[in-house]
Amino acid sequence: MLNAYVFMNSMIKTVLILLCLSATAASGTDRSLNVKRNSGAEGLISAATDTAWVNYYVRKGFFHLTKKSYNLEKVLAYIDTACLICEKEEFDFPPSLHLLRAEYFYETGDFSKSETDATLAVKKAEHEMDYLLQAKSLIFLGRYYHRTGFYQESIDQFAKSIQLAEEKNLKGIKQKAYAAEAEVYKSVNDLKAYSDNLRSMVNASLIEKDTLYAQAGLLKLGSLFTEDLRDFRLASSTLKECIRLSLARRDTYYIAFAMANTGWNFYRENMLDSSLFYYQQSLKYSSGKSANALGNMGTIYRDYGDYNRALKYYGKSLDIARSNHDWYSLSWVYKDMSDLYLSRKDTSEAFKSYVFYKQFNDSVSSQKSWLGLSEARIRYDADTHNKEIALLSLRLKNNRILNTGFTVLIIGLIVIGLLILRSSKLNEKRRISEMNHKISEITQANLRQQMNPHFIFNTLNSIQYYMYQHDTLATNNYLTKFSSLMRKVLDNSQHTSVPLRDELDALNLYLELECLRFKDKFEFSITVDDEIDPLMYKVPTMLIQPYVENSICHGLIPMERKGFVHIDLKLEKEHLVCIIEDNGIGREAANEIKKMRETNHNSLGTRITASRLELVNALYGTSLNTVYTDLKNEKGEAEGTRVEIQIPILT
């Protein structure tokens, strides 16, 4: 049956297409830009330029970027020109230019540059007291972190921008920040926080009378209460509010969608009459072109026992879904149809429908990657339809010659629209696959951040010492241990997960080498539960080692007496638990030492480890965490640290 999101997702595409059209039309006016740019590159100097020009180019750049016409080359041209002027005229890049660059690099997938520019935009905007831009840049940065998987950082940025908007009384910021923050919580599947943020988004936009954001927020909330956080009353009151707002704005897209959702909400309570009424309304507002509403009406008639009417609606729904390439609707309508035939004991038809269902269901999973596009498409359909109506009424006023002209124009528009739709679909697919590739690269780089170079070179130095002492046995022992460790690390880093045995072998070698380096400053042990078969259980590569290194460097080495570190692996229901316990100076004392240090720049290691665990959670849909316990003796003095890492079991 229908899931509320899909209908909405079928829509964003429209804006995209109409904007493509307007961009092609506008391209004529851009010739002046090209001329300007050439002369700039020739002499590297253009005399009569100033901030106004830079601002103008930045505005044009944003225009092409935010309208999602994806004319990135044009954006780049504007950026280059603006940069050249700034350099030549010797003034600092304005923050708006940094933000534009950040958004451009984000689009092209050049993430590190994007981050740099966005950070600069925030700083400079703050410096110039352009708070609106600062807030916008913070939101962008938040979205950037969201996309790259640094969820906590992302949320921090949004919080900052909200705070800024409060302090400086900025308009149009809070709702955007809440909306984006909500999406982050949705990504991590924290539905409570997701709904809280949506609620804040609605409140913020209502205060500013920004109905567009208010209805978007209400719609999402409504969908959430209809589906994941099932609450009939809340869902229906939220959706009612959304319908009220969108009726006032005559926003047919939202009306249709909210109506359909309300229909679904009633259907789930088995209130078929009300459900049918709302689906009819939805159909009316989507000009009879909603596969979703039609399909659901079919199902309602099926439940009434009116099979002929049900089949008629299913048929209509399938026609529209097919012409829209709406695999999702095709799949569930066929599924429902199959159920219907089955209840009428018409097994051959049931089987036929079931085959179709399987077929389209398979496409749905591949389609999910460009859900955003299908959302735009529905909006496009609605908009072209509105246009058609406007044109038709014009036609009545004009004579027949004009009639044919308009018909040709409409057909032309539709053809161009469809062509662009096709190519943008391909583009989107390519963009997403590139994006995923980039992300997995970043992931890999993170995962390979494994052996601390500081440790490597110090070990080599120790080996050299034994060599210098002509202690061939010790040299040989040390060198072979080191190469075994390096070999293990290199082997393991080829995979994102390895059998527990390999991970423990590497850990054991690492610990032996550290013991040698620090001349028996500490002892260690590794114990594994009997239940765990170290060859069968796989774990993420090199997840434990950084924690052990932390224990040694910050807990044991600064200590006067001899230390120990015990590593203990246990099996729990759905994950492994690794307990690293030391009798070192404890976290408090270690932090004291850190504070005392004049220069402190190596917090990177712990940050990488933390974000790796986050990544593992994101990759495997787990919610594992790390628990630190400060060990104390009877007198309450620090007596070491225990770290418990929950490790997912991978197969």
Binding site: A41, E42, G43, L44, I45, D80, C83, L84, C86, E87, E90, F91, D92, F93, P453, H454, I456, F457, N458, L460, N461, S462, I463, Q464, Y465, Y466, Y468, Q469, R517, F518, K519, C553, H554, I557, P558, I593, M596, R597, E598, T599, H601
Partner: protein, 254 residues
């Protein structure tokens, strides 16, 4: 008999300390090791007790860095040679401040050369390069070091890279052209400065020219191409570097 230099070794790893100790025993008869320390606190104590002439100092130690140790001696009366295994950030700052350092694993020849350099320096002046260390502490405070120490005819000069318009090679020497039409002759070759300044919008336009992109006024294509700087000087540009120059120019953020 010449008095031997009293030496202290500070490193968190016993092996590393023993290694330096043996190398000194075998190759540096001018030095006498009077103390070994394995962390910042005991290092400070040893130095206060022994009043050494020279300290070999590890940069990265678990409970505080070599820099932290030095901050206990703002007016130190000893020379320092840093020993470091791996820390890009620290090495960059050390190089920028023209302070001596050796990398791990130790190259014995380099080690001996560093000791020779210290001995030579002590024979001509009685200062301990304390100014360089103050600059080092300052450079460590920001991710990009802000003061570049350069040896000149009459001592050291500390420049902000932003003041440098360009550097021109003159055999193994380099001429620094600074804002305010000042110029200095430096007894190091251009390559070394290119290494230090490459990530600071300095561009090697020609075999003997390193220019600061901030001071470029224009690029002229004719007559084989040249760059005009803001002080009016015309700097030649090699044919194969023109495209690269334009790329660098377009990335330059000021």
């Amino acid at each position: 008999m010449i008095k031997k230099l009293k030496t202290v070794i500070v490193d968190d790893e016993p092996n590393a300390v023993e290694f330096i100790y043996s190398v000194i025993g075998d190759h540096c008869p001018e030095l006498e090791v009077v103390g070994k320390a394995y962390n910042v606190t005991s290092g400070v104590k040893k130095i206060e007790e022994q009043k050494p002439d020279l300290v070999f100092l590890d940069v990265e130690m678990p409970n505080g860095t070599g820099f932290d140790l030095l901050s206990h001696f703002p007016e130190k009366e000893f020379d320092v040679v840093f020993i470091t295994a791996f820390n890009h950030y620290a090495i960059k700052a050390i190089k920028f401040s023209a302070v001596d350092y050796i990398l791990k694993p130790l190259n014995i020849e380099e080690f001996i050369a560093a000791v020779k350099k210290v001995l030579q320096k002590r024979s001509v002046s009685s200062t301990f390069g304390n100014e360089n260390f103050k600059v080092l502490m300052e450079n460590l405070k920001s991710p990009i070091p802000s003061r570049l120490a350069i040896p000149t005819a009459d001592g050291m000069e500390y420049l902000n890279p932003k003041e440098i318009i360009r550097i021109e090679a003159d055999r193994s020497y380099s001429w620094f052209f600074l804002a305010g039409s000042r110029k200095i002759l430096v007894s190091k070759n251009l390559k070394e400065f290119q290494d230090l300044l490459s990530d600071r919008y300095f561009f090697r336009s020609h075999n003997s020219h390193l220019i600061n992109l901030k001071y470029v006024r224009k690029f002229v294509r004719k007559e084989g191409g040249y760059i005009e700087m803001q002080d009016g000087e015309q700097i030649p540009i090699s044919r194969n570097r023109k495209d690269l120059f334009l790329v660098h120019m377009s990335r330059f953020k000021g």
